[in-house]
Amino acid sequence: MSYLLEVSGLEKAYGGVKAVNGVSFRVKEQTIFSVIGPNGAGKTTLFNLLTGIERPDSGSILFHEDQLVGLPPFKVALKGISRTFQNLQIFFNMSVVENVMVGCHRLGNASMLSAIFRLPSMLREERLIRHKALKALEFCGMSQMRDKPADSLPYGQLKKLEIARALASEPHLVLLDEPAAGLNDTETVELSELIKKLVENGITVLLVEHNMGLVMDISDEVLVLNYGELLAMGTPSAIQKDPKVVAAYLGEE
């Protein structure tokens, strides 16, 4: 089986603090790969490095064997990597379906001129984008609220909206940054079903999450970060038994 994402020797320091320190891992296609670790372990920094929001000091990120290091975020997105945010980054000035339609941005290429004159090619593309956005909403079970303004949605729905928006770009890889944070038990179960459905549809999922129940339940592989360094990597059951991981989370005896 081929690897979708190959990260090696990734490093990023802020001043004297090494937020990510020589992390290497590989993600197989169509799997759920989770990154866990105590607060401040460098999980979100890792996501920012992978999506081009931050540039690593050294190391390499290969996606479909393409080097991603040095690309601006929008170019990373164009390669088929999409993400959600720990602190919501919803377009609150738009409706629900418009939010998701922005997710489809990379699928269109109609020029500004064709938009100004509403040429048939642009209208055709618009219909396609709308269709795809509605499908993504349906996939996440949000069809009935498509025309609501995004700022009228409750927190749990906004979390799902971010996933729908990320899906709409038809990505190969989706990075979910703490999707279960702030969700109640029912919503968390729904979320885990949704993530499993993503993988069934051919998408690879990289997950940062604090909800251990969710992580251990759905992950194919788990990576543990601590102080920016890779502490352990393996199947959920192996990670749960790893004494280093237990020590990092609960303190040493």
Binding site: I90, F91, N93, I116
Partner: protein, 318 residues
């Protein structure tokens, strides 16, 4: 359905001069308003939709106006050719300015655009061999379309109304497209827009140039209509007035900008009867609107209306 508002607006504008062909407020102030609408609609794309700020927009209006004035009076250019040259100049200047300036955000962007506007203004005042200095330039030739001279108030009304309606149509079209959504996404969350594959800096530069070019075309038309231009017409205060139009009508709404431009054009005209108190009352009205309808007059009223209709519906069903 999408263009219903524009259709009604166009109909009203077409009927008004038929009913009042000699009315000063229709055919003279009307043309000024149409020019202001084009400027406000253009600026609204950049400010209201993309969520940026420009306090130097009058500079592009001025560059367009002065290009036409200088090229026609000093170099004997055909007015249309001069307009084309002015637009090309503004295109290039706005692009070159946008590249570095739009890396800035919020207050810093406001300061930078303000500085740019003032530099252009000083240039127009000081470089008097070309621009006529503070006195400006006069006896600018009239514009004609295929031998049909635009030489009366009514003709200017028709021409400026057409250009204005087109600019509104284009603005509505841009907003209802993938590019329009990209603008609003930049406003909503730049980092999310970027991770959706939107080249945010390019989007901002694009819309800045588009709105600058719209200002340049307006400036060029303005100079032919007035047959005169002075640096006062494109000073810092005019930039502020344009921003006020956009904010007053309601940001991120094309018709909000239209509304704002209409009010800021007509209100001072009607307040003339109050003589010395004119400015005071004008300021008072603006404050009143912003306190009670902070989303802007047009957007605020629309929201009140839909709210009212919904309540009515609820009363009927319960």
């Amino acid at each position: 359905m999408r263009l219903l508002g524009l259709g009604i607006f166009a109909a009203v504008i077409a009927i008004l001069p038929l009913l009042f062909p000699e009315n000063y407020y229709v055919t003279v102030v009307g043309v000024t308003m149409f020019f202001n609408v084009i400027l406000a609609v253009g600026l609204n794309l950049f400010m209201g939709y993309a969520g940026q700020i420009s306090l130097g927009h009058a500079a592009f209006f001025g560059l367009g106006a002065y290009s036409s004035a200088i090229l026609t009076t000093k170099f004997g250019f055909n007015p249309w050719l001069a307009m084309g040259a002015g637009v090309a100049l503004v295109w290039i200047v706005s692009y070159l300015v946008a590249k570095p300036i739009l890396r800035l955000k919020g207050h810093y962007l406001a300061m930078a655009t303000l500085g740019f506007g003032i530099i252009i203004h000083i240039f127009l005042v000081q470089y008097d061999t070309l621009t006529g200095g503070p006195d400006g330039l006069s006896s600018i030739p009239e514009l004609s379309i295929f031998g049909w001279p635009i030489n009366s108030d009514l003709r200017w009304y028709a021409v400026s109304a057409t250009v204005m309606l087109l600019s509104i149509l284009f603005s509505l079209n841009i907003v209802a497209s993938r590019h329009g959504r990209a603008l609003q996404a930049v406003h909503g969350s730049e980092v999310a827009a970027e991770t959706m594959g939107i080249d945010t800096s390019r989007v901002k530069v694009h819309i800045f140039v588009i709105s600058a070019v719209m200002a340049a075309v307006t400036g060029s038309l303005f100079v032919h209509e007035q047959a005169f231009i002075s640096p006062d017409s494109c000073s810092f205060f005019f930039s502020i007035e344009l921003v006020t139009m956009v904010v007053l009508g309601g940001m991120a709404s094309t018709f909000g900008a239209v509304f704002g431009a209409a009010i800021l054009t007509y209100l001072p005209e009607f307040l003339v009867v109050f003589q010395d108190f004119k400015v005071l009352i004008f300021g008072g009205i603006l404050m009143f609107i912003m306190i009670f309808l902070p989303e802007g007059l047009f957007v605020g009223l629309c929201r009140l209306f839909t709210h009212f209709k919904q309540e009515q519906k609820e009363c009927l069903t319960s």
